[in-house]
């Protein structure tokens, strides 16, 4: 039996065969979809959701240098203020010893 004879024989059944092919194709698609989704991790549960990444800041090297200089200047300034505060206290004590804390003008 050659091909054209086979097609002639199948003529009344072509629509049925096409329908069967469509059904089989869709069934394979359905099963394929189920199998595919089963391979995908379950993210429906909230405790399985990915934790957010911590936010980190990266400064430019010039800005880091500027902050370093400012910190150093603040340290020097603090030291100078302490020194001046100590000197002021010494002067106050010396003035009090000399005569009543400056009350002699009255």
């Amino acid at each position: 039996m050659n091909l054209s004879a086979l097609l002639t024989t199948l003529e009344p059944w072509k629509a049925v065969l096409a329908a069967a092919l469509g059904l089989v194709g869709a069934a394979v698609g359905l099963i394929g979809g189920v199998i595919k989704q089963r391979g995908v991790p379950d993210t429906t549960s909230p405790d399985q959701a990915a934790a957010p990444r911590p936010v980190t800041f990266r400064l430019h090297p010039d800005d880091r240098q500027l902050i370093g200089d400012a910190t150093e200047a603040a340290t020097d300034l603090t030291r100078a203020i302490r020194h001046l505060t100590g000197a002021t206290e010494d002067n106050t004590v010396a003035l009090n010893r000399r005569g009543g804390g400056g009350g002699a003008r009255r």
Binding site: G22, A26, A27
Partner: protein, 160 residues
């Protein structure tokens, strides 16, 4: 996935394709059910008429379309809806492939353009069955999660 009334439901963009196929079937059934003899408009309908009357075609195609639209309208509120969608998409694929071959006119020895439309719908239904198959698994997981930890009742008077 989106939430309706606090209940997570399954949503995929490919549902548009399912709505399209279901809507097309419903309109075809409507055209066949309307007064007048559609099958008398040309030789292309001879093979359809030889299988069953016009009103029966309208009933069969309309019933499949109605089930599909019902399954889509429920939209995941019932766990088996994706399975129903997958089954109706499978039946739709078979129906459209069948219709595509019926658009062959033996007396002329050529296909009508309806064959191309039906074949496109059959391919769309195969794709829809695949997407619905994936939704079956997702819906099962969502409903398991809901059963394990039911959502708190909504405040009185809350309207989403």
């Amino acid at each position: 996935m989106r939430s309706i009334r606090g209940i997570p439901t399954v949503f995929t963009p490919s549902r548009a394709l399912e709505w399209h196929c279901a809507g097309t079937d419903l309109l075809v059934a409507l055209v066949l059910a309307l007064p007048g003899r559609t099958f008398s408009t040309g030789a292309i309908w001879d093979r359809f008429a030889s299988i069953m009357p016009e009103s029966d075609w309208a009933l069969v195609i309309g019933a499949i379309a109605a089930v599909r639209i019902a399954a889509l309208a429920v939209n995941g509120h019932w766990r088996r809806t994706p399975l129903l969608r997958a089954l109706t998409a499978t039946i739709g694929a078979g129906l459209h492939a069948y219709l595509a071959m019926l658009f062959y006119v033996p007396s002329v020895g050529a296909f009508g353009t309806g064959a191309a439309f039906s074949a496109a719908l059959a391919i769309s239904d195969i794709r829809s069955a695949y997407r619905a198959g994936r939704d079956i698994v997702v819906a099962g997981r969502v409903w398991d999660m809901m059963r394990a930890a039911p959502p708190a009742p909504l405040p009185e008077g809350f309207a989403p």
